[in-house]
């Protein structure tokens, strides 16, 4: 009997939440644990309202769609390939507990504790086969800023270290790399959803890791004109404070993206103001098969002075997809060189890259992923690879 008692007491001290509550002076509520992620389904991204479309960003001023079917066919018959690397980052976010902190006036406020798994992976295509090249995984926590009572800068790293030393994590050979702090202050009259703020912190962390990985690939000299990197999703990377502070660093940051294309499955067709200044989603909806739109340029205050070139390509016939936006991908490229910034990207280059992307329409992940019409298979594989490396939800949640 006495042995049993010992057993039932011991694990309590080892649970992550217990240590967190103890160290931050909060009270853990042992709330229901659940995932905050949306499942992968086709959707229209209605955000990005603040992006301002500017002038056309290519050397040839196309007025309408550009037909690439011939070029795609021509390239398919050749046995070469310039889209060599594929990168995808993903995260899984869970609300793992509620924790209460006493604030002014002695009232206690409950905040969610968010935990996330971040995975960033890169695969390379060699002889038509996909091989993994790099992978980074980390486990992070996001807690409210009030949990750091003293507001000292070294508090969170010390806390992460402490957690990683607990027996249970040690035994499993895992550790939390960092604890991200989410802001609790109110802005205006909007209702604050802490979960979203915490998720945003995890998302930012993931983007940082993606940037690091791209930088690594560049450093290793893997990317060049014959070896482009296709990144899943938008390239809207904000240069960090550090990047901006140093001019040299900033140019390196931009240079890292010289051979990188962003290919997004979801986009906001509303932002497309190609004909005049009017929003014209129909312009993309009517994009014929194997055609691309002219390249547009946009800037964004949030993105500093970085200029992006954006265009759309239709990979699949409208007849065979459910909505007119299925089968269209949005391609982004950062304007890096001075010439590009001045005159736009070389249209010839855009056509070639687009034609290569059109050839990526096969094979498809039909049946496995609902977004098959917009997916590029190597990216899908990279995504599957990254996801396969996650800790299972059960094991992860059991840590708390």
């Amino acid at each position: 009997m006495s042995q049993n008692k010992n057993c039932s007491f011991k694990p309590k001290h080892e649970k992550v939440m217990h240590i967190l509550a103890e160290e931050t002076g909060g009270k853990s509520y042992k709330a229901h644990k659940y995932g905050l992620d949306h499942s992968d389904r086709p959707s229209i991204d209605y955000g990005d309202n603040e992006i301002v479309w500017k002038r056309k960003a290519e050397t040839t001023q196309h007025k309408t769609y550009v037909d690439l079917s011939k070029r795609a066919k021509q390239l398919a018959s050749r046995d070469d390939q310039i889209l060599s690397y594929f990168l995808d980052g993903s995260r899984r976010v869970f609300k793992v507990d509620d924790i209460a902190y006493t604030e002014s006036g002695g009232r206690s406020v409950i905040y969610p504790v968010i935990a996330g798994q971040i995975g960033v992976g890169c695969c390379q295509r060699v002889d038509r086969r996909i091989e993994h090249t790099k992978f980074k995984r980390e486990l992070v926590l996001s807690l409210p800023d009030v949990a750091n009572a003293d507001g000292k800068p070294g508090f969170w790293p010390a806390m992460a270290k402490k957690l990683s030393e607990c027996d249970e994590l040690k035994r499993l050979g895992i550790e939390f790399s960092t604890i991200l702090e989410y802001k609790t202050m109110k802005i205006g009259n909007d209702k604050v959803i802490y979960e979203d703020r915490a998720t945003a912190c995890v998302q930012d962390r993931m983007i940082e890791r993606e940037k690091e990985l791209v930088a690594e690939l560049v450093r290793e000299g893997r990317l060049n004109q014959d070896n482009y990197l296709i990144k899943d999703g938008s390239l809207e990377y904000r240069p960090g404070k550090e990047d901006k502070a140093d001019k040299k660093k900033y140019s390196i940051f931009k240079n890292n993206y010289r051979w990188v294309l962003g290919a997004s499955k979801n986009f906001n067709p509303e932002v497309c103001k190609v004909l005049g200044d009017k929003s014209n989603p129909g312009f993309i909806a009517d994009l014929p098969l194997f055609h691309r739109t002219p390249v547009a340029e946009y800037e964004n205050d949030m993105l500093s002075d970085i200029k992006f070139a954006v265009w759309y390509i239709r990979l699949r016939d409208k007849k065979q997809t459910r909505t007119p936006f299925d089968g269209v991908i949005k391609v982004e490229k950062i304007l890096v060189t001075e010439e590009e910034n001045r005159d736009g990207i070389d249209s010839e280059n855009v056509d070639t890259l687009s034609a290569y992307l059109i050839n990526e329409r096969n094979p498809v992940c039909y049946g496995t992923d609902l977004r098959w019409a917009n997916h590029i298979y190597p990216v899908f594989l990279t995504e599957s690879y990254v996801k396969s490396r996650y800790l299972s939800t059960e094991s992860f949640l059991h840590l708390f």
Binding site: Q320, E360, N362, P363, V364, Y366, G367
Partner: protein
């Protein structure tokens, strides 16, 4: 160092069990059914598995996915990225080095095995009284290819532990006769080269052309390609066998008079004469007074529900029967039978009807219309009675009986007589006669067993009875049956059931869908339909699993 080729898969739907597991390999990894793999297991032990099936899968969820991946049906489309695919193999557990048969674990390492490990896994390393029965090839077509001789325990094929061999397969493609001859060559080599308490002799029936009528002459490989002879010889040497053809062979052909235009053998006259000069060949005859007991063999294929034929035969061989006791020749006998079958004959006090006598007369008259049914034989002319010769069979001797050119009823008669003689010889019935010194084991080889022991043969058939006696009691008596047939499913289940060793050669899918093959996994059943010439699946109680083996080309003279 073993080559790591994959990892074990264990999922909810396909768990590993005590007797099987799945593992993945690279799609390009060459493996074959029956290859052995080695898996790391508990306590630094290794579990060995025999590959039963290999599947290839990709991440495509349905056929539709693939169809869509070709732009909805454009057959010309090439994909810039190959779809992710892998092979997974299903393996049957054959052995664990520490006797641990708990299922192998997920992700356990899977290696190719070395030659020694393969022997151990199949239980070939501990076989007593080894008798080579072929060679197996593993990992064919790879750098790690392994060739191993396969040994049987001779006590499990020649008795007393287990006896009899059944070989099945379609004619021409399975090389049934060649395989039986290879095994007999191995047995003879084994007994000729080593001093053993046991001794063995062979009685072989030649049923096709003159295939087995020159087994003591070397194969000249005249119709084979250059270097075939050397290759075959080195194959024999690698299996520990000599490259000599069979030794101590005697041939027996049915007697026909030299004047008769029709000969009862495919052997040309020159060869007959040469054999006779070498004292290697005799022409056999059947003499009424000595062979009347075998008359029943003529009725092996005739339905006799009322047993009237049997009563007639009993009457004939009854030494006290006043009608038949004094008859000397086949002619006397036929006259007597005709008399009985005459209209108005009283029969045998009404016991046997005239109609029965007539039926008997019809069958016998047809059967004995042959030169070999004679009144007497002259030893000086190399004539003999087959039974007398077989009684005197000595150790390491081979007697080839040519029945190829005889009609079916006479083939049955000769076969039945010979088998009965061997059986009686081993029962000790002739022990008191001079020159009778039977070896401890006598192997009888007959092709086309279906003629004598098929399921359709009447239960009353004396030959079937004789074969059943041999398969059921021969193991302890020392009479061993090596039999071959096209379709195993046609053979009487008590015959196949008593065979310790089974060799399955190439056959067709109708055959493999019959009950006899139900115990084989589907992959093996399908494999049987595409086995190459000279490939066999062997089943023997000493082997832990079925083995796929091959054997070299015949070492004796071939007629093409």
């Amino acid at each position: 160092m073993n080559k790591l080729i994959g990892r074990v898969l264990a999922t909810e739907k396909s768990p590993t069990t005590m007797d099987e597991f799945n593992f993945w390999t690279n799609s390009d990894q060459r493996l074959h059914a029956f290859d052995i793999v080695k898996v790391m297991h508990l306590d630094s032990s290794f579990t060995f598995g025999v590959i039963e099936n290999i599947s290839h899968i990709t991440d495509a969820q349905s056929f539709l996915t693939n169809f869509i991946s070709s732009d909805f049906g454009d057959v010309e489309i090439e994909e810039p990225t190959l779809r992710v695919g892998m092979n997974y193999a299903k393996a049957k557990v054959s052995f664990n080095t520490k006797n641990l048969y708990t299922p192998v674990h997920n992700n356990a390492k899977v290696f190719l095995a070395s030659a020694d490990e393969i022997s151990m896994a199949l239980g070939l390393d501990r076989i007593q009284n080894p008798l080579v029965c072929g060679a197996l090839k593993m990992y064919e077509g790879t750098e790690e290819e392994v060739n191993l001789p396969v040994y049987l325990n001779s006590k499990f094929i020649l008795g007393p532990e287990g006896a009899h061999l059944n070989i099945s397969g379609i004619s021409g493609l399975a090389s049934k006769t060649s395989y039986a001859m290879f095994l007999m060559k191995a047995i003879q080599d084994n007994y000729l080269n080593t001093e053993q308490d046991d001794s063995v002799a062979f009685v072989i029936f030649n049923v096709k052309g003159r295939d087995l009528m020159a087994i003591d002459r070397p194969n000249d490989f005249a119709t084979d390609g250059h270097g075939e002879k050397e290759q075959t010889h080195s194959y024999y040497t690698s299996l520990g066998l000599t490259t000599r053809p069979f030794q101590n062979v005697k041939y027996y052909i049915p007697y026909t008079s030299n004047n008769s235009p029709k000969q009862s053998t495919y052997l040309p006259k020159n060869d007959i004469e040469e054999y006779i000069r070498n004292n290697q060949l005799k022409k056999f005859k059947y003499i009424y007074s000595d062979d009347k007991e075998n008359i029943e063999m003529m009725f092996s294929d005739i339905d006799d529900p009322a047993q009237t034929m049997e009563s007639i035969i009993s009457k004939i061989i009854d030494n006290d029967d006043r009608d038949f006791r004094d008859l000397k020749t086949w002619n006397d006998f036929m006259e007597k039978v005709s008399e009985k079958a005459q209209k108005g004959s009283t029969g045998d006090k009404g016991d046997i009807s005239v109609l029965s006598w007539r039926k008997f007369s019809r069958v016998v008259r047809k059967a004995i219309q042959d030169d070999m049914f004679a009144n007497a034989f002259t030893p000086q002319n190399s004539e003999c009675r087959l039974a007398d010769e077989l009684k005197q069979i000595g150790k390491n001797e081979i007697r080839v009986i040519d029945i190829a050119k005889l009609p079916e009823d006479k083939q049955a008669f000769v076969f039945g007589d010979a088998v009965r003689t061997i059986y009686n010889l081993k029962l000790g019935e002739y022990d008191s006669e001079p020159k009778v010194k039977p070896p401890s084991r006598i192997v009888i080889f007959i092709d086309e067993l279906n003629k004598y022991a098929s399921k359709e043969i009447p239960k009353t058939s004396p030959i079937l009875r004789q074969i059943l006696d041999i398969t059921e009691r021969g193991r302890s008596l020392g009479v061993v049956l090596f039999a071959a047939e096209q379709f195993r499913s046609a053979i009487h289940p008590r015959v196949t059931g008593n065979c310790a060793t089974h060799a399955y050669g190439r056959t067709n899918s109708i055959e493999t869908s019959s009950g006899d093959y139900r115990s084989l996994p589907t992959t093996y059943q399908n494999m049987l339909t595409r086995l190459e010439q000279g490939d066999y699946l062997i089943q023997n109680p000493v082997f832990r699993t079925l083995l796929k083996i091959r054997f070299p080309k015949p070492i004796y003279k071939q007629f093409k």
